[in-house]
């Protein structure tokens, strides 16, 4: 089965380990992630001011490209998921903005240059934006995932970190309960690991503020990681390269600030899935992590 896939800029560069592990896992589950033949950066952040049509164009254009491949598009990065989904809602619900956006789409020459057979079709929200985990739950099914597991992750205490952009605003994202979500917990149970519920799983890591004020992001991330440490987790899984960067990067500082701190590796949930599905280890690259996850994984005889 093929399903259109939008990686987003970061998955192709800084978060290649995320992209590769996700593709291999999908293959192991009988799904081919068909990358959109033409796509651009989604814009990273969804504009919260009301007067911009320009600001949603990047997301809309990608949705328009996706609509050529099918009626769904899967993405991994939380930021991309949030931008695409919210932009899609605008195209579905706001006639004025939809008409203006389509005017711009009609003038899009790049697509025609890259794909000679390309003709414009208005985009009206016909694509459904799915997160990879929603695909696992609803298209593949967690029970099928569980069946495909060759190595149960027994004894590994995993803390799923949701962050912000998957869940909020809840009325638009409709991803899971914004305060007590369970979609990742159910996924982890299918992999056989011990799930660690920790109170800061839906609190912000600091996000883009790390660019301007690294201490601010470090402080937010500390709040999250320390909470997981206190609940005795072995590893944190995430679905956002920025979250992974923030939580992973600042742990030296956390060790200085917090008595009894224990470094926690932060990996992508697809890397964990890859281990469970027996994906070839050349596709599971942990070299980008500041806090190396390999020791704890080896200790539990998982790699």
């Amino acid at each position: 089965m093929k399903i259109p896939y939008y990686p987003g800029c970061t998955l192709h560069e800084r978060a290649r380990d995320f992209d590769v592990s996700a593709k291999e896992c999908a293959k192991a589950l009988g799904v081919e992630l068909e990358e959109l033949p033409i796509w651009t950066c989604c814009g990273a952040v969804y504009p919260l001011v009301t007067d911009s049509v320009m600001d949603v164009l990047a997301g809309v254009r990608n949705l328009s490209y996706a609509s050529r491949l099918g009626d769904k598009v899967v993405t991994l990065c939380s930021f991309c998921y949030n931008v695409l989904k919210r932009s899609n809602n605008v195209m579905r619900g706001n006639k004025d903005k939809r008409d203006k956006a389509n005017l711009f789409l009609r003038a899009d020459t790049e697509a025609r240059e890259r794909i000679p057979s390309y003709t414009h079709e208005d985009y009206e929200g016909q694509v459904e934006v799915l997160h990879y985990i929603e695909m696992l739950r609803d298209v593949v099914g967690y029970d099928r995932v569980a069946e495909a597991v060759t190595k149960k992750l027994e004894g590994l205490k995993v803390a799923p970190y949701y962050g912000c952009m998957l869940l909020r605003p809840a009325k638009e994202m409709k991803f899971d309960d914004p305060e007590q979500p369970t979609i990742f917990e159910e996924f982890l149970e299918a992999l056989g690991c011990d799930v660690v519920d920790f109170p800061m799983k839906t609190e912000c890591c600091g996000g883009f503020q790390v660019v301007k004020d690294e201490d601010l992001a470090a402080s937010c991330s500390q709040n999250v990681v320390v909470s997981a440490v206190k609940r005795d987790a072995d590893v944190i899984v995430t679905t956002c390269p920025l979250c992974r960067y923030n939580l992973d990067r600042h742990q030296d500082k956390m060790a200085e600030e917090v008595k009894g701190f224990r470094k926690l590796p932060v990996i992508y949930f697809t890397q964990l899935l890859g281990i469970a599905l027996g994906v070839d280890k050349e596709h599971l690259d942990f070299s980008d992590n500041t806090v190396d996850p390999r020791p704890v994984l080896a200790e539990k005889s998982l790699i």
Binding site: D177, P178, E179, Q180, P199, M200, S227, K230
Partner: protein, 653 residues
Amino acid sequence: MEERIGVFVCHCGTNIAATVDVKRVAEELAGYPGVAFSTDYTYMCSDPGQNMVKDAIKEHDLTGVIVAACSPTLHEATFRRAGTAAGMNPYQVEISNIREQCSWVHQGDKDAATDKAIRTIKVMIEKARLDEALDPISVPMTPRALVVGGGIAGIQAALDIANAGHEVVLVEKEASIGGHMAQLSETFPTLDCSQCIMTPKMVEVAQHPKVTLLTYSEVDDVSGYVGNFKVKVRKKASYVNRDVCTGCGLCSEKCPAKAPSEFDEGLAERPAIYTPFPQAVPNKPVLDASHCTWFLKDGKCGVCAKVCPLDCIDYEQQDEFVEYEVGAIVVATGYDLYPIENMGEYGGGKYPDVVTSLQFERMLSASGPTGGEVRRPSDGEIPKEVVFLTCCGSRDPESHLPYCSKVCCMYLTKHAMLYKHNVHEGQAYVFYMDVRTGGKGYEEFYTRAAEEDDVLYIRGKVSKIFEEDGKVMVWGVDTLSGKKIEIAADMAVLGLATVPNAAARDLANMLKIHQNEWGFLSEAHPKLRPVESLAPGFYIAGAAQGPKDIPESVAQASGAASKVAALFAEKEYHREPIIANIDEDTCAGCRVCVSVCPYDAAEFDEEKKVAHIKEAICEGCGACIAACPSGSATQKNLTDDQLYKMVSAALEG
């Protein structure tokens, strides 16, 4: 017979007269066919105004009266009574609305308003010319009341009605009466022991010669109409012969099966055969089959039957149905707390030391699960710092409930004080948005808490609660100083919103009592008719109508009881005769009227093969009249002939 209609045009001060030229109206109508007398006056509803009507009826031998004034919902009854006093049939007195539907909405155009007033009155003159003298319909009144719900409101209503000399059937779905008030430790603002003040009433109502108390029972069906309801009550199988049982308690003592105690809000367990609390009325147990080993494991166990000295246990017992005829029904089904599961930001119920207000109440109670000591459910330790949160679910139109639950500010203040009296070195924090202390002695009570019991009130709404390192972490804010606040408390108590009792929704639907969108029973008028529903014969009392405290519940219950007593004061109940009736000669028996009637007032007579209107139930809505294909259904004093003439008068002017 010659028509002699009197027209009385009211100025209503300047309400009408500032826009409508009332003198011209009265003058023009004096010459209209059928009008024998026409005048205007400043305030028709005043005594002189009413006397003017009465005098004119006698002096001019009037056959009908039009009072052109405000809406009939205000003074139709006033002028009908005046007409009756002067010897006229009240249904020949009509109101023409030239205020709400004329002067108040056409203030910009006086000529047009005056012209419209004249037409409006002509419409009613045409109606009055053909009005018949009608007599109110009398139905017999069964002077027995049904009270649904045995909480403080239901108990009070039952007592008041019974003391007025009438029989009462009090139905309560739990094994004992008492409701939530029986669960409370102490009540604000006096800190009276709740059970101490309540049990005398509970015993009184149970022993009252005029009260039939049915506990562990539910109303299964209600049919009929005011004065003549037929009620079917289901006495749920308790598997105990409660008539013989003496309440010795041996069965409960020996029962090996356990279930979470509803009375103790899940903080303790109770056996499968249980009496909810020591002061229960009646103090007889019931067997909860859903937790009983005998029922779950095919006859294993049976200990209670073995130990019962009077052989009261009967595993074969079935639900029993009893029927009563009653004249009035008082619904006092009470409240529940908004589910803690809905408050995910506070843990949604997964943190044992984050408790609901009713759970904390049970902890404070001397007969409660912790023997009156405040202890953390997680480890049984005594908490040194407790945080109380107001507005959990209330005043939150975005995610929860928009309304204020009224009692939480007061009861959390009470909780904070009682906690301090219990744990002398303890510290109580109350996070609030506004401290609402509207009742008598309430503000003084709050002052006592803040000044004498060192309760720290922090103005801000808590964003998140979680447990860490054995502490309950509370993230709030003090908006008055602008500081974000974090408290590592030992326990948190949530002031959850008050919602109507869940089971009562179905009951209200069955009784066709209107509820608002949150399920609270609707009163007939928010200001002036707070204890009755719009449907005749149904009265409402207590927290089922809206969040309220105990004194208000008691007052409302007594109010409902007085309405019932007034209803029962007459041997017969009188209804408005402006209802539908069917010409049996022309009725084809198609039964369309039966299918459209929202009140089940139209019935098909199998022998005569025609439809028939039950006069006692028909509300005169007109649905059958509009639907009747043969024109056999007409409305008294609103016939097609009248309507045609009224419309002509309106259009031709």
